[in-house]
């Protein structure tokens, strides 16, 4: 992964020099170990800042809706699917974009790495092709990246970008058939009281900071329903029912559009796995309507299409 940086800089520099794009959206190295920061590069001389590592989990498609410029954007498999969703939903035009595709072998979950340090401060994390070397005061450990991937990356089946104008490396092999919905099936096997208990417990730490919404490329409404005050759809405090309402409705708004990029979960300061809600709907979209979001820019999303043979067993 880390080796992609050079190629990304090269492509970005060329694009900006030729004025093929007005800006390139990518990542630069953060100031702390494992942190990366989204960056918009406008001058060819600045392209040296661009950087790629296994910690570039932020979904850059989040920065696209309604932009007017010509944009170069770096996209992993999931990001490219979100770009496709934006194009289908008319948030950006395909000809405005130059997509620099990154074949992805999975992003490393910095929380899992941090837990290795068991409270000690990490001063340096060095990445190689397959491994990470974690350093801090009095410790030094090398681990395999593949053992510390983000949960959504472990079951990802679309690691290569679905649309792109250039690729920074060879396509990686797609996984054949991990079952991404094992845990959802487990939840669905519970009784309804048990499930209510489970989700109440899952969301009990939510502080309603809306980081999940802000990190989500799908959440581009000019005013989110939680911020409306007239009418006020949902209470703004941390009442558990209001919190539950926020999470249920946000998940519904993402139904048939979510690519499970994991941005929401990664952004959460309280380590809440709200993907259990969005993924349940992804599972329904796939199993009942045969739809996976963002695989093509021609296909309309499942919620705005009608087919006479649509699943309708729940309607009496």
């Amino acid at each position: 992964m880390i080796a992609y940086s050079g190629k990304i800089r090269e492509i970005a520099k060329k694009l900006l020099e030729e004025k093929a794009v007005d800006l390139v959206i990518g990542f630069k190295k953060g100031t702390l170990p494992m942190m990366t920061e989204p960056v918009m590069i406008k001058e060819p001389e600045e392209t040296g800042q661009l950087y790629w590592s296994s910690f570039c989990s932020v979904n850059l498609a989040d920065y696209l809706p309604k932009r007017k410029e010509k944009i170069g954007i770096i996209a992993k498999g999931c990001d490219s699917r979100n770009i496709a969703v934006h194009i289908v939903e008319n948030q950006i035009q395909r000809d405005q974009l130059y997509i620099i595709g990154v074949p992805c072998t999975g992003m490393v979950d910095r929380r899992k790495i941090r837990s290795l340090a068991a409270g000690r401060e990490l001063t340096e994390v060095i990445e190689s092709d397959e491994e990470l070397t974690i350093k801090g005061k009095d410790f030094d450990q090398t681990v395999k990246k593949i053992d510390y991937l983000q949960d959504n990356c472990i079951t990802c089946m679309h690691r290569n970008p679905v649309i792109y104008d250039a690729m920074v490396g060879e396509q990686v092999e797609e996984r054949k058939d991990p079952d991404p919905y094992d845990d959802i099936k487990e939840i669905d096997a519970m009784g309804s009281d048990e499930r209510w208990e489970f989700f109440s417990n899952l969301l009990k730490d939510c502080i309603r900071c809306y980081a999940c919404r802000n990190a989500c490329p799908l959440c581009y409404c000019p005013t989110c329903f939680v911020d409306e005050s007239d009418p006020q759809w949902v209470g703004k405090g941390i009442d558990p029912i209001d919190t539950m309402t926020f999470h249920i409705l946000r998940a519904f708004h993402c139904a048939g559009r979510c690519t499970d990029c994991g941005a929401c979960e990664q952004a959460c300061p309280m380590d809440i796995n709200m993907r259990l809600l969005t993924r349940s709907l992804n599972k329904d979209a796939l199993e009942l309507y045969g739809c996976e979001a963002g695989l093509s820019i021609e296909e309309r999303p499942p919620l705005d299409t009608y087919r006479p043979d649509d699943y309708d067993k729940f309607i009496r």
Binding site: I184, S192, W196, L277, S280, F314, I315, R316
Partner: protein
């Protein structure tokens, strides 16, 4: 909603045309019976703040 634990007896979907009055009455009766059987709702109900 079922996924997060709302009882299926409370969730009903129906498609009724404006000319199908008998069907509407039938469905409405069924829904109320099902919900009555499920008893008072306990989940996703916002309690009033307790004033001490």
């Amino acid at each position: 909603l079922e996924h997060i634990g709302i009882e299926p007896e409370r969730l009903h979907f129906s498609w009724i045309s404006s000319s199908e009055a008998p069907k509407f009455a039938e469905v409405a009766t069924e829904v109320t019976e099902a919900v009555r059987k499920a008893g008072p709702v306990k989940k996703l109900v916002k309690q009033r703040a307790e004033v001490v």
